[in-house]
Subunit: 336 residues, 2 copies
């Protein structure tokens, strides 16, 4: 299959172009001080020989790998049930590829996984880390700080906001938008189902909710979920049992909202007539549910792009990087 001729090296290119190794290397790296003639000759020789750079050789001397790791830290298996990841992964891969940086996926679901990630990074196998959905107190994060590797996160790492740069949607304001909307529509008994409080999405969306409702948002109207559909369903059931007079609920993710809809249907409540339901994310599920979800759109592609930008800047030696917070928008459909 294919010719088995040895792959051409920089030496071969140099020979064909009639210049030295050094000059070829300079062309390859866009260095200064290459005459137009030499430049052209090298370009021609590269095309002629079909030369491609050997990254291992380059890495060996530069101590750079040209790759970054995306670490998905999730205790449960839910990982991909959440469409958020997909968007992040796709966007990040694309953007990085444009800079010829490759994206390695690593899953840090349990401690064994986490150790592997740490070993990998300590081994200098990547220039940077892109943390996704990191929970407060994750030991991985602390280990990271001891390793000379660029690290950024999608969403703040609670407790490490000042040391790990991040990009995120404006979770708090997004929650305010939805809560305000529910209030304006005349709802009076508004509950919420939060995400895990050790994630920024869990904590900040609850804060935004409380910002609008103040003390009216008592304990009895708050229930916690884990971002899964099933978690949303049982949280809604608990909520209904405890406070049957609820007339609206703000659910911190669309997937959980889908679960909440099932619970409401099971309880014989109509949506939105009896209970209005607001989601968060504007993910694909929001259109699948019946009725379609009124939700808060977060600009995930842009979040991913900004996170990548931060990471590349960090790898290039940037020092103090400010977090990037992107605005959300309310998307009104039929559930509220």
């Amino acid at each position: 299959m294919g010719s088995m001729a040895k792959r051409p090296t920089i030496h071969d290119v140099a020979a064909v172009a009639g210049v030295s190794r050094g000059t070829v290397s300079r062309v390859l790296n866009d260095d200064r001080y290459v005459s137009p003639a030499a430049h052209a000759a090298v370009k021609r020789a590269i095309a002629e020989t079909g030369y491609v750079l050997n990254r291992a050789a380059r890495s060996l001397v530069t101590q750079r790998t040209g790759s970054v790791v995306m670490v998905l830290s999730e205790p449960q298996e839910r990982l991909f049930e959440d469409p958020t990841f997909s968007v992040l992964l796709r966007t990040a891969t694309r953007r990085l590829a444009e800079r010829d940086v490759s994206l390695v996926m690593m899953i840090a679901g349990n401690d064994g996984d986490r150790d592997r990630v740490i070993r990998y990074l300590r081994g200098g196998h990547a220039d940077g880390v892109f943390l996704v959905s990191t929970h407060a107190g994750d030991k991985l994060v602390d280990a990271l700080l001891d390793i000379p590797v660029a690290a950024v996160a999608q969403g703040a790492v609670i407790g490490r906001e000042n040391v790990i740069p991040y990009a995120a949607a404006d979770d708090r304001e997004g929650a305010r938008q939805m809560t305000r909307y529910l209030v304006e529509r005349g709802h009076r008994r508004i509950a919420t189902i939060t995400g895990p409080l050790d994630t920024p999405g869990g904590a900040l969306r609850l804060e935004g909710f409380a910002d609008i409702l103040g003390r009216k948002a008592g304990r009895r109207l708050i229930e916690h979920g884990d971002y899964t559909q099933l978690g949303g369903e049982s949280a809604m059931a608990r909520l209904l049992e405890r406070s049957p007079d609820i007339d609206a609920v703000f659910v911190a993710s669309d997937l959980m909202a889908a679960g909440a809809l099932s619970a409401l249907r099971a309880a014989g409540r109509r949506v939105p007539e009896d209970v209005a339901v607001g989601g968060f994310d504007d993910s694909a599920v929001a259109l699948t549910t019946h009725p379609p979800l009124t939700t808060v759109r977060q600009p995930l592609e842009r979040v991913a792009e900004e996170t990548v930008r931060l990471l590349l800047a960090l790898i290039d030696g940037a020092e103090h990087l400010e977090p990037v917070i992107l605005p959300t928008t309310l998307v009104v459909r039929e559930s509220a």
Copy 2:
């Protein structure tokens, strides 16, 4: 951040252990002919120095990279809307990590992307390729055959079944199971919405459908979708317009089935009373829809595992690898 001491090399380990480079290398590679004493000393020295292997250096001499690429070839942006990918990605990452092989993601959505993938592989940046959802006639596949790299696919690559090993669910038999079930339930006007016919899932599920219905499955009862929810919706609408007397429909993916449900609801048909709907995949959406989907479960994790197994075998030099076909099961819920 962290000590800036140079990373220990194999030389440092050798010095601490009181042996030579060669011996350390032999321990690292589980080579024969290392005395128990030397082995222990090296292990101790590795722990003491905190040594980690430099992969770039190893790659340079072994011509192996320790990484494989998962190529998602999708013309559209739909990519991740389909939960199939998520499962494949997660499972493959895990399994490969167990062998210390890292997974690089590449997206081949357009020709520019495809060229980048080819350049990457031609550059020897990976030991193997894991093709996902490849369409017949993809130029990437032909390019691949000219590059000395191990390649496997999830799902047959139509037209290249004999040259690219693959693992897949038994799409044809799965479609037969569903169609048979619909027939047994007494439905007489059974239609189908297929996937793209240049993918194995599209072609084989239609074949399975036709296996059961024979000539009764006329052109008028077949409509084509693109695996997206919206595609399923419009395909269903076309079907209803053309053949209003349909009493069941087999949809080649759950996501398209969700779309079909919307179209049926819009047309005022009850599911399953007026029209029964059968899906395929048993993905998360199957539970979200209303009513929940009766569908065909394909063992995606196992498919991913088997594909990885094939890939690793190929990298290790295996020659003739037979495709692996895994059984599907019918999952009865409420939509049919």
